[in-house]
Symmetry: C2
Subunit: 487 residues, 2 copies
């Protein structure tokens, strides 16, 4: 049997060789003809059967077309509106001067922010020194934090005319950040207090003795000299103004007693980030004055009239500069500014963003684009809630609602229009996430990523349009739409 | 010595382990702290030092933005111009009806094209049968070919009013293709005649005996049965109308006596290509009527007034639909139409284009985007010239000038404006190629590719604008610019 099989195989191999031989002979015959043949059986590259997949040139093509489209839009904008960039207007936008007299409520609110921070430190001191009982401390903290959040709302509401939009936004932003930072500060100090009640006087700035620690498994001898840099600050030595001030300025929302530090300030790096901050702020201002404001004004009438085709065209037109500004803002805030602060303060952890641009799902985007907030939410809200005994879904929902609240806060308070578009936008992330999952499963991760991008590019200008529309109607009445719309 | 070295190495290893140990200890100390530290030294992803390079999400981003930009331009166009697509206009453009009475000179010229083809075959027959001497045959061929090229020029010049632009272009295109095909036919037959003077009657449809050929080196025995499919047509059996007609319709410009053939017609493939041809022709027509014609008309005044900013904006605006139409035309012509013809005629070599989209240099683009013409130029112009004794540079220049001539021919004759913009465009390829080489060397192949794309996207609309401008001025006078420009 086996020899027969072998014979068969041999014969087959032979016949294959023979067929190949014939093909080769044929090719040779063709080649030897006097008509110099130049054709041979081949597929076109776009045919599936060609197995050709190198279309990298089209990536360059796409970026080139985008760049050219950008240049054209710039020229079109210049021809249509002329130069709208006006430095004087910036100063007014920034300081609010000229609208509400010589008052600078934004500046006062900025300076006032030192009060709740100091109060927080004092309460912590009181708790650490056992002057305050825990319950009283917690109540005091809650009152302090609530006051912190409501203060800008109240002041902006009653002094609306004296605030510029930019000033009000900055104040709300600062107070939101302070709220998150102080929450973290209070919670971390509570953890420290609960974990150990060390004697208060003897442990000041004491370095941790290594012998207290568990030895590694392989039983190596300990280093002979105790290195200086492992000397750690321990509770309650951290409760001083210098430490708290460092945390307030540090590019993080999560407090810890011993932040990882860099050894030196890289001067070139610092200079680059500084130049970026200065240039990009100017660029954003220019884009706003030259591009976004005229686009938003132009789209008011189609939105009011519910003209779908024109409104869509306007929305798409607005989405490009808006997205550009958002990208610049992201880079400016999360790369240039936070790295600048980190470099100045020797703060070593620069993980301010992950690769959200590759996110295949909107969930991943929310978990990666803003790492300071994400880490804060996980460390100070999600994990504590789970540890108390809430389910993971419950904890996620809670994180989600706090996030939605702050988004609404940062938009509604400065604009003085208490609509819920931003909140609805956040809520819309839930069906969007389900859509992403479905699309990713059906068409592959690339399409999930495309949906994430589409929601980023289109969702924001939609919200902006909603708010602007309501803002104009609330503040100037419907009669003003016409005069505004034609500008 | 060696033991000392070893000791040193050992000590070093130990000290390294000790440093690592300390680091580990430190991390462990940090971890064991009650403040639950969450920071560790890290770089931001955009920092060079992070070594992060996965930005694939931005490719999706670019294509999405392009798509959205396209949708917006479509909407803007619809809002501005309304629906301009008009099937009746197509018929007029295609047939030229309504301008020059009931004559159809394009159709007559199409039908007349059979005459020079038949004349060419007759001359070849005469040469093969030794009725004509070689010199007389060559002179007859040259006269026939010259007549072929000049006929459309003369007829269109004297009957300009009766031709539609589309009709005239199609005629010029057909006659150019016929010129190249007949050149190839004549040259290949001449090669065959020169290589061997076989007895004329005995070799009819004779199959080549394999024993005439050299055996392969490994000394295998020859196949017992001589396969039928190696039976090849040999000169002068090819000199008949059926063979020539096949070549005229075949999707190639290079004649050979035995084209590689496919075994069967793939019906699905055929149907797909047919649908593509029908749909894409309609799409191109729509884009022309709806987008290109209004854009070109709008850009006339800025071009006349030499208004640089407005003209640039118009050029960029025109470049997008023009480039789109060119891409559709490329796909329609080189993939759909030529594959359709190939499938119907069992023509197996479908290498109608190479991957020009990845070309890093404009030279490579010219060598890859139009394979039929490129192969014709190499086989029938470049190699023969080099074989005669011309230098390679001389031969390249010659190919280049013939190419420039046909570009000019295909544009100037239908438009009836004998300007040299297309010719100058072709000449511009030489400095462009040098630029590509320099850029590629300095900045890498990606930038070479980008320059190729930029020249493709911007070069064509510039030429179109030039021709349109001259066309309007020549045919309607400068007075008409105003009325046209405001449409």
């Amino acid at each position: 049997m086996s020899s027969e099989n072998e014979g068969l195989r041999l014969r087959r191999t032979k016949s294959v060789t023979r067929a190949e031989e014939i093909q080769k002979q044929e090719a040779r015959i063709r080649k030897s003809q006097p008509d110099k043949p130049c054709h041979r059986p081949r597929d076109s590259l776009f045919s599936w059967s060609s197995d050709f997949t190198n279309f990298t040139g089209f990536v360059n093509w796409a970026f080139l077309l985008l760049f050219m489209g950008g240049i054209r839009l710039l020229l079109e904008n210049l021809i249509k509106y002329g130069v709208r960039v006006d430095p004087e207007q910036w100063v007014i936008v920034l300081t609010g001067r000229g609208e509400g007299g010589p008052e600078h409520p934004s500046l006062y609110l900025f300076l006032y922010s030192i009060v709740p921070v100091s109060v927080c430190l004092l309460i912590e001191k009181g708790l650490a020194e056992d002057i305050l009982i825990t319950r009283a401390g917690i109540i005091a903290h809650i009152m302090n934090l609530c006051l912190l959040v409501t203060l800008p709302m109240v002041v902006i509401h009653f002094k609306a005319a004296a605030f510029s939009l930019m000033g009000a936004t900055m104040v709300c932003f600062l107070y939101s950040v302070l709220f998150l930072k102080l929450w973290s500060y209070i919670q971390v100090n509570a953890w420290c207090r609960n974990s150990c009640h060390p004697p208060k006087t003897t442990l000041r700035r004491q370095s941790v003795s290594l012998s207290q620690l568990q030895l590694p498994d392989n039983g190596h001898t300990l280093p002979e000299t105790e290195p200086d840099d492992i000397s750690l600050v321990r509770y309650p030595d951290n409760l001083n103004m210098k430490d708290l001030a460092f945390f307030i300025f540090a590019p993080t929302l999560c407090y810890e007693l011993n932040f990882p530090r860099t050894e030196r300030i890289r001067k070139r790096f610092l200079l680059k980030r500084l130049v970026e901050v200065v240039v990009l702020i100017q660029l954003m201002m220019c884009l706003f004055q030259q591009w976004i404001i005229p686009s938003v004004k132009n789209s008011l009438i189609p939105f009011s009239n519910m003209d779908v085709v024109k409104a869509t065209e306007r929305l798409l037109k607005l989405s490009i500069p808006n997205h550009l500004v958002w990208l610049i803002f992201f880079y400016l805030m999360f790369h240039s500014f936070l790295n600048l602060m980190g470099e100045i303060l020797h703060f070593a952890d620069r993980n301010f963003y992950c690769d959200w641009w590759n996110a295949n799902n909107i969930d991943i985007f929310w978990r990666t684009w803003n790492m300071p907030v994400h880490r804060w939410a996980v460390r100070h809200l999600y994990i504590p809630l789970v540890e108390i005994g809430y389910s993971k879904t419950m904890a996620s929902t809670c994180v989600f609602f706090i996030s939605a609240f702050f988004h609404e806060y940062l938009v509604s308070v400065p604009l003085q229009t208490f609509k819920i578009w931003a909140f609805l936008g956040m809520m819309g992330q839930i069906p969007l996430s389900i859509l992403c999952h479905t699309v990713e499963k059906k068409f592959g991760p690339r399409w999930g990523n495309i949906i994430v991008w589409a929601s980023l590019i289109l969702g924001q200008p939609l919200c902006i349009m909603m708010y602007y529309h309501d803002y104009v109607i609330t503040h100037f009445g419907e009669a003003l739409i016409d005069s505004y719309g034609t500008v």
